[in-house]
Amino acid sequence: METKMRKHILLILAIVVSFSVSAQGFLSFYQLRDIVPQTANFQPAFIPNNSFTLGLPTNVGVTVQGDVKLEELLYKAPGQNDLSINFDVLNGVALERNNINVQVDLNALHLGFKTKKGGFHIFSNVRANVDFVYNKDLIEFLANGNSNSIGATLDFTGSTVRIDAFHEVGFGYARKFLNEKLVVGGRIKLVTGMYHASIEEDAGLRLTTDANDYSWQVQVQNGTVNTAGFGFFGDSDDEGSDMSSYMVSNGNRTVAFDIGAKYKPLHWLEVEAAVNDIGKINWTDEVRNYNTEDTDFTFTGIDLRNQDETADAIQDSLTNKFTSNETQNEFSTTMARRMYLSTSVYLTPNDRFSLLYFKRDALSHMKANYALAYNHKFDKFVVGVLGSMRGENDFNFGANLGTNIGPVQLYLAMDNVLVTNKPEQYSKADFRFGLNLMFGYKKWFKKPDVVDLDEL
């Protein structure tokens, strides 16, 4: 009965993974959640296996991915060496909605302590995210202008960008319940925003070109871009110290939470859930809002008679159709909440298959991600492989490795290990590595009931 259930669950996992997904990173790293303390950034219900952990500021994670391959983004014509961003190439492979995402995480500090019932840790991270979405019409316009859309509408609505950079300092605690079948963890953190740029939710821009006279009907709605911190990148040279002070401490603060839980109802089955970055940043310092009023106008050109500088006059006339201003109004943004759901099947205590669901809500309509992973736990290290599908044909093969060599822990996780070989053929690069100092394992290991004769 138990064996049959395992087969059914594995079959379901395989089917789910075959669906189209749009992975967003650190899926492989998540599989090291048994031993690497920085996984608490994703699953707060992490309880270390040692008494004290010191995470050095060498723990870095980078994800770069998009819906285009690198060779499509950086195009090199056959027989030439010049790389270029060629909108025609990008347009040729564009989907209706295309994502480009960059995430950089730096774990500056991690101090972890294990207790009888669980563990707690103190952490400090610096994080930066760039999420850019462009739809088919936008790239079509960049590639071909509007000449292919005469008599039609180019709707750029949905194309958007969000840039976040912040640092966070916090405290996390995890505790076991139900005879260690349930682990619940939570983290509270003080988040300080450094840089932000985003286009207003539901911002829209549509361009309709008349079939006969090429007049433009332009519709703009919610045309506001909120930024913070970017004013330091002006021309002034004497603002460097101000920017440093601003980056360390400013009014763009909030208190955010991470929560997570693991439940192992059967010895071979474990389900997990985690939600991170629950909070909202109020941007009050170094704020700029670039606003364009909602408008719906038809641009038919200008009165061409008695015009000396026709090109300038046309440009001015079109620009004057928009009413724009710059303000410094506070605004708030919901943090890019991340949610992990995982179901794991243990073939043996050291062999685990996991189906992972991950969703990150940096922008609306972002798709969830799935991955199927296998990990094996050795005495001194953990190794795993992971497969994920993106789009219809883009298969990513990931791997991870974590070691506990004495007090030193090294780890490396990649969502796409194949990227090192002809990286231009891939659309995703994701890696996370780090170095921790781990102390106090022996206290927490149970003596084996059965003597290993081989060791003897």
């Binding site: 000449s147 070109t209 009165d303 046309i314 190794v383 791997a399």
Partner: protein
């Protein structure tokens, strides 16, 4: 299981160490962003009314207006010539003379004896023709009077010039003569004098009569004598006279009026092709304040076009008497206006304008008091003037048949023209004017050498004319002018754009005239597609 794990570990290691970044070897990026969109955009609108379409009409000599029917009409109005009184009429110099004998013989009288001799004279003014002056108000001139005596005695004389008055008193000259000083001469300026020549010596009404009374006393001393043939001779003259006014009859004085109308800029914008106006009019306007009528004879009106072709005006207007009225005496100081219209019913003016003249030479002879005009008492004063002007009125009731016009405009290619790979200009027209046009575009170099031309296309169609003579709905057309990359390169050095426009009115092939009303409009929506290639690094 252990074997599987080992294989996986080895495989993972192999993948990790396999590193092939050949794609990026020797690669350069250098901010190379290839942006080659094709932008379709509306540039704007060009709206023309009929008069704006023929913009060269708006020069200094021409105006554009509408006639009573609302048809756009070219109006030339030019003051051609003025003729003043002094230029029109000069009073000839006058000279009269006679002698008055004593009529008595006296020899050595015992005592000094005085003999008085008196005589009235009536002279006729000398005229060139049949002028009959009743009076002349002199502005300037000289009156000369000279007397000579052949008496051997002293003489005292008095000459009263009855026909010359100033301040209501006649001019009187007197003097004394002796045997040793027997002549006398005096000059009187005529300023302020009025010459009255309307009565004869008997007081009867007359003209051109100059009256003089001569009286002299001869003093005969006891030792002297006179004979009856001894006399006093006198001469009088009026020379270099100018007048303030003349009354009477000036007879038939000829006035040559010759001028050219040279500023027919309207036709300068046209080249080949035909243009026919249905109802042109040329009004010669005579403003006459001379107190007599004039007969106008259009001796020669000849139009000449830019090719040197000439055509003379013919028709009744040439052969008929054209009278110009003058004010009557009671209206002295006023001006009477007479318009003489040359039109298609009294001349071949239509043919004349179809020649597309560049200049028109007009020779007119105006004659005072022409035959066939009722007699009118004449007068002239120094304010009298004959102004001759011309008003040309050409309603756009016409036929254009392939009339070609040229319009050039300066052209400066944009600096980044190399980025343009294709340019298509679209002209979408909405035309209420019953006139269509084809356009050829030429790009000319510094020496007006042809660099590139875009073939002629029908750019706007002529609207159909309804039964009421008007167009009721516009004709719509679209024309695309395309410049491919090679074409664009060829116009890099162009400095001038020359538009060759061929105009044809609706149903011109059937000889139909169309009226171009002032509310007609020709609208263009100008748009285009521009294919450009822009690299971020400027290449």
């Amino acid at each position: 299981m252990k074997k599987l794990i080992t294989l996986c570990t080895l495989g993972l290691s192999a993948v990790l160490v396999a590193c092939n970044v050949q794609y990026f070897e020797n690669a350069e990026f250098d901010d190379n962003i290839i942006f080659d969109p094709s932008i379709a955009v509306a540039f704007g609108e060009l709206n023309y009314t009929v008069d704006e379409l023929f913009e060269q009409l708006n020069d200094a000599n021409a105006g554009v207006t509408s006639n009573n029917e609302g048809v756009v009409t070219i109006v030339y109005s030019e003051q051609l010539q003025s003729q003043g009184a002094q230029e029109f009429l000069q009073v000839p110099d006058q000279s009269f003379g006679s002698s008055l004998p004593s009529g008595v013989n006296i020899s050595n009288p015992p005592t000094t004896t005085v003999v008085t001799v008196s005589e009235s004279y009536e002279f006729d003014l000398t005229q060139r023709g049949a002028e009959e002056y009743d009076s002349i108000f002199f502005q300037s001139g000289s009156f000369e009077f000279s007397v000579e005596s052949d008496f051997n005695a002293n003489i005292d004389f008095v000459a009263t010039f009855t026909s010359l008055e100033t301040s209501d008193a006649p001019l009187v000259m007197s003097g004394s003569l002796s045997s040793s000083n027997n002549s006398f001469s005096e000059t009187e300026p005529l300023d302020g004098y009025v010459g009255y020549f309307h009565l004869d010596s008997d007081g009867n009404p007359a003209s051109n009569k100059f009256l003089v009374e001569i009286t002299y006393d001869v003093e005969v001393t006891p030792s002297s004598s006179i004979s009856d043939t001894d006399r006093v001779s006198f001469n009088l003259a009026m020379t270099n006279t100018k007048f303030d006014a003349i009354y009477g009859f000036v007879d038939s004085q000829e006035l040559e009026v010759s001028f050219e109308i040279v500023n027919f800029d309207f036709f300068k914008q046209f080249d080949t092709g035909g243009i026919t106006f249905a109802d042109p009019k040329v009004n010669f306007v005579f403003n006459n304040s001379f107190g007599f009528p004039l007969g106008v004879d259009f001796q020669n009106i000849t139009a000449t076009n830019s090719d040197g072709q000439s055509l003379s005006l013919e028709g009744d207007i040439i052969s008929q008497l054209n009278a110009v009225a003058g004010p009557r005496l009671v209206n002295e100081g006023q001006t009477r206006t007479t318009e003489i219209e040359v039109n298609n019913s009294n001349s071949n003016l239509v043919d004349l304008l179809s020649l597309q003249p560049e200049r028109i030479v007009v020779d007119v002879k105006a004659t005072s008091n022409p035959n066939g005009v009722p007699f009118q008492y004449n007068f002239i004063n120094d304010q009298s003037i004959l102004d001759v002007g011309v008003d040309i009125e050409i309603p756009f009731d016409m036929t254009l048949d392939g009339l070609q016009a040229e319009e050039s405009m300066p052209f400066s290619p944009p600096e980044d023209i190399d980025q343009a790979k294709r340019l298509m200009i679209r002209l979408a027209s909405e035309n209420y004017i019953p006139m269509g046009g084809k356009v050829e575009i030429q790009f000319l170099g510094a020496n007006n050498n042809l660099l590139h031309s875009v073939d002629e296309q029908a750019v706007f169609e002529g609207a159909e004319v309804g039964t009421n003579g008007r167009t009721n709905e516009p004709a719509r057309a679209t024309a695309d002018f395309v410049l491919e990359e090679d074409d664009i390169q060829s116009i890099k050095d162009a400095e001038t754009i020359l538009l060759l426009v061929t105009l044809t009115t609706t149903d011109a092939d059937q000889g139909a005239n169309v009226k171009l009303f002032d509310d007609y409009e020709l609208k263009f929506k100008v748009s285009g597609q521009l294919d450009i290639v822009v690299n971020a690094n400027g290449n």
